[in-house]
């Protein structure tokens, strides 16, 4: 995984609350056995009409959304299914960070493990972001801060170990594998 330090982009705004992982990627795309290419299925039923053609009124289909890497979403994005295909699809499409007031537990955990940065901000900052789609913002993981275009800087919380892993591009599996003595001792104690 590549290290993440700073993400700078215009925002794409999806103000709906409770954007669930079935909306992010519908179940019919889950019969894949790889993690590649899922960007094509991102928000499939919102992006495309029943005729398969792009819906002009959907935010990702607008010209100004192209190239944006920060998604600002309504409260509780990522609720529902544990499918890691949701962050895979967002990343494959080009997103690098998701910003909301609340991010569902499993989706947040899955995002952190793939380098999609979940950023939880306060209500006031969130309201400003929702009201200003396309705003150029900067997310600094080293500083745990988000900078708005007017220079205001707000802090966001992030679990310390996950932050360390993202900043350094290391994955947690290596860390867990290094715990093998402790795991063996635990297994011996339990049996």
């Amino acid at each position: 995984m590549d290290p993440i330090k700073v993400i700078r982009s215009r925002t794409v705004v999806m103000p709906s609350t409770n954007i669930d992982t079935d909306q992010i990627i519908p179940a019919r795309f889950l019969t894949t056995t790889t993690r590649e290419g899922l960007g094509a299925a991102l928000f499939a039923d919102l992006r495309n009409g029943a005729d398969g053609k792009p819906r002009a009124d959907f935010v990702l289909n607008r010209a100004e959304s192209h190239g944006c890497t920060i998604l600002v979403a309504g409260r509780n994005i990522g609720c529902g299914s544990s499918r890691e295909h949701a962050p895979w699809a967002l990343l494959d499409y080009g997103f690098r960070a998701v910003v909301s007031t609340e991010i569902a537990d499993i989706f947040r955990s899955n995002s952190l493990k793939n380098g999609l940065l979940p950023v939880v901000v306060d209500e006031a900052t969130h309201e400003w972001l929702l009201a200003h789609p396309g705003a150029e913002i900067e997310i600094d993981l080293g500083e745990c801060s988000l900078r708005l275009p007017d220079g205001r800087v707000v802090d966001f919380p992030i679990e310390a170990f996950a932050r360390y892993c993202l900043l350094n591009g290391v994955d947690e599996l290596g860390y867990l594998l290094n715990q093998s003595d402790a795991i063996e001792a635990y297994e011996a104690r339990r049996t």
């Binding site: 019969t31 790889t34 029943a50 309504g74 569902a104 947690e172 795991i183 339990r190």
Partner: protein, 467 residues
């Protein structure tokens, strides 16, 4: 000694390395349930890194999500209609062979939805940590286990190390007084709980359902409740183990036997929360006030008593959009809406007692003209049992489709879907947009309510049939 909650006891028993400010806990996993949809990429990582499965004996593998429910495609030699699903099933077979895992495969008599067969086989036990690449893993908490859903990367961690890195969640007690009334099911209670605390009310928390109404529930009913914890945002939900739990498990193939059973039960009796143990939050409900519930919107928190109406929330654009998707208007009664499909199945409501409840309504009646009713048992064992009890014949005589087990129309991955614009009264767990098929409109309810809708062809109060 400090009084501890069930959750605290479960957590502390499984700490390989406790958490610090800088590092999460290394948490040991006793049982890893694995299925075809969320595991292929995890096996690929093991392969890339030259890793083995650390504890095949703690790994239970089956296939349920993308499998057909059509008998001919499983047992009759007819090819699986969905090529990508067939490929995913083959890939799981290959992965199990390569990594030395026993597989409860497509034709295995023990096969079924992973959250149904874990308990059924006795693999799910009090005191265990249980994970699966599926958010409804919370189901197993009904036994006094710490059980939660994980993503595929974490499936790989557990395969390779039998451990996860976890931060300790907060605790939320849901205390339910009283008793459920006639015709009111466990599903109605959990929908009422979600309606009360909201779809994010449990985020960051492990739930413990407790109180007289919970203690009075059967294991099947407790599983229905714990199953939907994730619909309130909580990864885990649990019920303290008691005599009901032990009676359910005794004699099951993977449960401890003989002296080991006695020792296990003695240990399990120490698990319930101590008197005076503190929870971070507590919510109280009265089961006696719960009515049959049905959802009207696009998340399980958009739910109301079946005797009620679609709420009015002027100025709420998200709410209005959800109602537009559902084709409903504020203020409309929930009853009497014509339905096109009824689905009785899923890890929420496809155990034998759910089918018995549905059969009470179907017995001697017919599925209404123009309605498609699909009954999908949760496992092959449930299927055999329902056939032996004559329930299957009740469904068939009524004109419902009686299928092989699997997740089926809960998420429509295997081709069992609801057409766009159609209403489906479903005993499953999610009414998200497109969940049962692009444009499908899901109304979540209990098996009795679903069966009532099937025979009347419209949303109806199950108490018309069950007194």
């Amino acid at each position: 000694m400090t009084a501890k909650t069930l959750f605290q006891k479960l957590w502390e028993r499984h700490e390989v390395v406790p958490e610090t400010a800088d590092t999460p806990a290394v948490l040991y996993i006793d049982l890893h349930l694995t299925h075809e949809v969320t595991s292929p990429q995890a096996f690929s990582v093991l392969r890339e890194r030259g890793l083995k499965v650390r504890r095949p004996d703690r790994t239970l593998v089956t296939m349920d999500h993308s499998t057909p429910t059509d008998t001919a495609q499983i047992f009759g030699g007819v090819p699986i209609a969905l090529e990508s699903a067939a490929n995913q099933i083959r890939q799981l077979e290959v992965n199990c062979r390569e990594f030395g895992l026993d597989l409860i495969g497509l034709k295995d008599a023990r096969r079924g939805i992973v959250h149904i067969i874990g308990p059924e086989l006795g693999a799910t036990q009090p005191g265990k940590t249980i994970v699966c690449g599926d958010s409804h893993t919370s189901t197993h908490g009904a036994f006094g286990a710490l059980a939660f859903g994980i993503g595929t990367t974490e499936v790989g961690y557990v395969l390779a190390t039998q451990c996860l890195l976890q931060r300790r969640p907060r605790t939320l007690a849901i205390e339910v007084a009283g008793r459920l009334g006639p015709g009111v099911a466990a599903k109605d209670l959990v929908l009422a709980i979600i309606g009360r605390i909201g779809v994010n009310g449990g985020t960051g928390h492990a739930l413990e359902y407790r109180g007289p109404a919970i203690e009075a529930l059967s294991m099947d009913e407790r599983m229905t409740i714990c199953n939907m914890s994730i619909e309130a945002g909580a990864r885990a939900g649990m019920v303290a183990p008691d005599e009901t739990t032990f009676a359910y498990l005794k004699g099951r193939p993977l449960a401890p036997q003989g002296d080991a059973w006695e020792r296990a039960v003695a240990d399990w009796r120490t698990l319930p929360s101590d008197a005076g143990a503190l929870y971070d939050k507590t919510v109280q409900l009265d089961a006696g006030a719960v009515e049959p519930m049905i959802t009207y919107g696009t998340n399980p928190g958009m739910v109301a008593p079946i005797t009620g109406c679609v709420p009015e929330r002027p100025g709420d654009a998200v709410f209005a959009r959800a109602l537009a998707y559902m084709g409903l208007e504020p203020g409309q009664p929930l009853r009497d809406r014509p339905v096109q499909v009824v689905f009785i199945g899923s890890c929420t409501n496809a155990r034998i007692s759910d089918l018995e409840l549905a059969a009470k309504v179907f017995r001697g009646r017919k599925v209404a003209p123009g309605v498609r009713a699909l009954v999908v048992p949760g496992s092959q064992q449930v299927k055999r049992e329902a056939e032996a009890l004559g329930l299957a014949q009740v469904f068939i005589d009524a004109g419902a489709e009686w299928r092989e087990s699997g997740c089926s129309m809960c998420l429509g991955m295997n081709g069992d879907t609801v057409d766009a614009g159609n209403y489906c009264v479903s005993t499953s767990n999610r009414n998200f947009e497109g969940r049962q098929g692009a444009g499908a409109r899901t109304l979540l309810a209990s098996p009795a309510t679903a069966a009532a809708a099937a025979v009347l062809g419209r949303v109806a109060d199950p108490r018309e049939f069950i007194h």
